[in-house]
Amino acid sequence: MAKEMIAMLLAGGQGSRLYALTQKLAKPAVPFGGKYRIIDFPLSNCINSGIDTVGILTQYQPLVLNEYIGNGQPWDLDRLHGGVHVLPPYQQASGSDWYKGTANAIYQNISFIERYNPQYVIILSGDQICKQDYSDFLRFHKEKNAEFSVAVMEVPWEEAPRFGLMVTDENDKITEFQEKPKNPKSNLASMGIYIFNWDILKKYLIEDEADPESENDFGNNIIPNLLRDNRNMYAYHFSGYWKDVGTISSLWEANMEVLDPEHSGINLFDDDWKIYSRNSGMTGHKITGSAIVENSMITDGCRIAGDVKHSILFAGVRVEPGAKVQDAVIMGGTVIKAGAVVEHCIIAENVVIGENAQVGAMPDADEGSVATVGPGIYVGANAKIGPNAMVSQNVKGGEEQW
């Protein structure tokens, strides 16, 4: 049975700019927004758009990601025909290869795609927070009679040089592609989300693989080759919330934006476009009489006895009496002991912040750096973690780290 469109999700990114958070975790598995992981967004978008077949391409620290995806049931992607499949690189008769680039990752899985004989393939990225209706994108692709379409966002002109830019004519037809140019001719940034006609994609993947000079990358190789051949290429304008959460500060910022959906546009409270996730199964959260909770998101299993302001707490976080939490992202199972002060920071899963310890600091100016504590770390009593710190080893009581 042929599928109209299947999705290939690039989830192999190491996420090296997230440092301590991704030492043992692929970037798409990084927790986000109180009860989600980054990959919940593209997976939920798929199922909400009617795409029931998704290949997830992984190769970096896949353990947590594989377990998290499981049989795909939380996203309704456990299907008889199709569903979600995790696709690591594998050994073949001709030898084995790691995925050399984004295009090579898809090339190595041509046989997976052919099992479903799709007309279209959508290429997704596993490191963005975005709610997007891919079926509307496909409608555009078909209307334009396109062979390749890319989703683009308008960005401020001064920021344009940081992006891959699509130069288009008045019909949204792409005439030129500029990768991080000094002198941008367009402010339409590629979101790294593409729809290809499968026959075209396959042809160019095979051609690209045969080129020893190629980096096997969509942006650097495949798209320029399509342009060279004057293919029907169109840019699809997307105007909703979209954020690349590849750095500590953008990850922190995106979490904080969840607390202000009225302005940021990232609304997780949308019954018509639910974001699905694997649930903690913990009981409801509990706020004691002595606690203060202001402008925060709290999820199942939390026990709050201290002050929590403008923060996001994941499942099972405990904040003991007298502890203060502000502008913080605190991931699952972490304990903030009595009297500790935790500000303007990201604290990963299963961390213990000892009594009266201090982590991070409220910034003086607008641009403050975000202190980060990696998973499973123990920060001893009275320790001090400075606002620039990236903690990936236990900190003894009373020690300081800046």
Partner: protein
């Protein structure tokens, strides 16, 4: 089989004691009454069985069971979508004389064929009116070690007010046990003694073949109730072993106890006692985390996911998806899933059922002894 599973199958009677809480079961049954913020009562017994390796569970429904079917689905959340065993929901079999079951004997008689064809050596039977993290493994082991014909679980506590209020003509029965060591010597039906009693939980373990024999005989004689008609009259012949349950239990025996048992969970020691053991599974709703908007004040609150809180909430239990508007004041309330409290409304000692809306500015006050209740989908 190479596993640590109990060699027992489970049978749950979800309609037992429905008539004690007529308001709550007007559109559901005892087993699907929402409890503790995000659960239904059946989740506790069902999860307890699953956590002890019982993965062949039948639920014999009698009436008003749509909400239960919706809640249980295929049983996936309890890990009960199995090729062998799994979850088996048995509705009444409508024949020429359509009549719903009157008691456990009739209910069990309707699944005798099924029981005969199963492989497990033992059967555990339970109602769904008690929220408890029950150790079925220890219970079944205790039954096997005692060599008894039947083992019954009981708690040592005073009789709940809701049971003492029962009218003599009502067909609702509860039982206390007179014990000699762990041996049941006498079963009292609807006693009214004061002070701590050995109050039966109506949870039983026995051999499957034995159950089949007893039910077959009793059914032919026109008997209805398992305890009254099978156990009580045969105590001289049967070795009935008593097993004291030391776990935290929350028994629903009237509206007041429903309110109180929810409220008790605001104390950490109670919440920990009920939930710190094995996990209790429930239907997943994929709600977002609960959001406290600037201006919200929360003191001593247990809230599930999906709530949006802009007003003041104190000493209350909020189920999934409750919305509390600006300036609203909630005190000593149990608000079930998707209750909407609009701006400026004020509620005290109030129980709202699912999907209730309290319009802006309304003031409703119940009392500690008589909380006000608003039925499902009501707009106040």
């Amino acid at each position: 089989m190479v596993n640590s599973n109990s060699d027992a199958l489970g049978i749950i009677f979800p309609n037992s004691y429905d008539s004690l809480v007529p308001e709550l079961v007007s559109e559901r049954l005892m087993a699907s009454i929402p409890f503790a913020g995000r659960y239904r009562l059946v989740d506790f017994i069902l999860s307890s069985m699953v956590n002890c390796g019982i993965d062949n569970i039948s639920i014999i429904v009698r009436q008003n069971y749509h909400s239960l079917l919706d809640h249980l689905g295929s049983g996936r959340e309890w890990d009960l979508t199995r090729k062998n065993g799994g979850l088996n929901i048995v509705p009444p079999f409508a024949d020429k004389a359509v009549k719903v079951y009157g008691g456990r004997v009739e209910a069990l008689a309707s699944i005798l064929h099924f029981l005969r064809s199963q492989k497990e050596k033992y059967v555990v039977l339970s109602d769904a009116n008690i929220a408890v993290n029950f150790d079925f493994k220890d219970f079944v082991n205790s039954h096997i070690e005692s060599g008894a014909d039947v083992t019954v679980a009981y708690v040592r506590e005073e009789l709940p007010a809701g049971l003492l209020k029962l009218r003599p003509e009502s067909k609702v029965f509860y039982y206390t046990l007179n014990l000699n060591q762990d041996h049941v010597e006498k079963i009292y039906i609807n006693p009214t003694m004061s002070g701590p009693q050995n109050l039966s939980m109506n949870i039983y373990a026995m051999e499957r073949e034995r159950l089949i024999d007893e039910i077959k005989t009793a059914f032919v004689r026109g008997h209805i109730y398992f305890e009254r008609d099978i156990l009580a009259p045969q105590l001289d012949k049967l070795h009935v072993h008593a097993y004291e349950c030391q776990s935290y239990t929350a028994r629903i025996s009237d509206m007041k106890s429903y309110f109180d048992e929810n409220m008790k969970l605001l104390y950490d020691e109670n919440l920990d006692a009920l939930f710190s053991g094995n996990p209790i599974y429930t239907k997943i709703r994929d709600d977002n985390p609960t959001r406290y908007i600037p201006g919200a004040i929360a003191k001593n609150v247990m809230a599930a996911d999906g709530c949006i809180i802009e007003g003041e909430v104190e000493n209350s239990i909020l189920f999934r998806g409750v919305k509390v508007g600006k300036g609203a004041k909630i005190k000593n309330c149990v608000l079930m899933q998707d209750t909407i409290v609009e701006d400026g409304a004020s509620l005290e000692y109030f129980i709202s059922d699912k999907n209730v809306t309290i319009t802006a500015g309304k003031v409703i006050k119940g009392t500690d002894t008589f909380p006000v209740y608003a039925a499902k989908r009501q707009v106040v």
